[in-house]
Amino acid sequence: MLVLDSFEYFAPTTVRQALALAEKYRGRSRFLAGGQSLLPMMKLGLASPNVLIDLNRIKGLEYIKEAGKWIRIGAMTRHNAIASSKVLAEKAPIMVEAANQIGDPQVRNMGTIGGSLAHADPAGDWGSVLIALRGLVQVTGRRGSKLVMIDKFFVNSFTPRLRSGELITEVRIPTPPRRSGGAYVKLERRAGDFAIAAAAVQLTLDNNDRIRSVGIGLTSLGPTNLRAVKAEKILTGQLPTAEVVEEAAKAAAAESKPVTDPLRGSQDYKRAMAAVLTKRAIMMAVSRARGGG
């Protein structure tokens, strides 16, 4: 039977208490959100905090609400709450589509969007979706809160832009305008596994059917979730013809930085899949922006 290393455990009920504890145990503590990555890592000895600060007793960090031009999602919102959110199904269905592809139902009942982002796994799904949506991460520390663009949030694999003692408290996405569509297309070895590769695309068409704006995020295709900058440039201002979409998908593959994974495919295979998945996601997003499924 697997026994975890000992640790001290605290279950604060406010963000302020949680931050005070993190400061007191600076460098030796970890925040526990849904625990669906942290606990498995502790079992494997990949993480062994002396102090665990459980965020699950904090009230007011689980919400999804529309506020002005933004949709605001509390950091402790479970994947399953996102999967069943009416607001998101209507305004940003890519969030619902992605939530339903994370882990498995039991994992989605516990796992949180904030915890997943803080884990900064390049195979994580939320990073790519937020890149596509151009989302923001609210980071709170003892001195207050700041908003960080998702593009600046991932420093490296498993390294978020969070200083010791800082906490994600909210995720914000700009509410997509009309004639918008998105898709998250993920390739897995089997249901519930990490992505071999995945592509998130969110775009808006103008009245002439040209792509007014587009965001493309890639999963498991580099040291962090990546933005396919060149592919976005190729699409912007263009009609989404088969040729343009093909060119963009090839560009996304070229700018991806996959590494060979002994379990989930070689560098070449992943790069080839980057093109396929990006192409599918663009085509689905376009179809949805036009009002189709």
């Binding site: 039977m1 697997l2 026994v3 975890l4 290393d5 000992s6 640790f7 001290e8 455990y9 279950a11 526990l32 625990g35 669906q36 606990l39 498995p40 079992k43 665990l52 459980d54 699950n56 399953n80 882990g103 498995d104 139902p105 039991q106 994992v107 009942n109 516990m110 249901a191 519930g192």
Partner: protein, 156 residues
Amino acid sequence: MSARVITLTVNGRRVSCPVEPRKLLVNFIRQDLGLTGTHWGCDTGNCGACTVILNGKSVKSCNILAVQADGGELLTIEGLAENGELHPIQKAFWENHALQCGFCTPGFIMQAYWLLKQDPNPTGEVVRNMLSGNICRCTGYQNIIKAVLAAAKEMR
């Protein structure tokens, strides 16, 4: 590190028990509560054999600490039968031969229980999706899906 006393409701019964913070919920259920119907399978969060219902949601009890259940409401496979009568899901598993070795069964049944609370009339596809976090190594999936659909019909 020192143990702390947690209090929770287990299958309708109030329980207080000292636990070390590092103890996983699955081990607390099996060792401290003696409820060995919840199975400890892969210990990696993959297999779903340890699925229980905590505060109305299905969770993998190897991926949660016992202290996190403090003040909560826990339902395990032992809590399903009432007055010696098997729960309709248990009956359906029996009648549809939805188990061979039986190791994965408690997890499947608890996940099916949660699923049918969410969606009393699921399609076969929904059942497949919602059971995707549970693994059966006797390859009995077809009969498991049949059993869950049969239970759904019975419970409606």
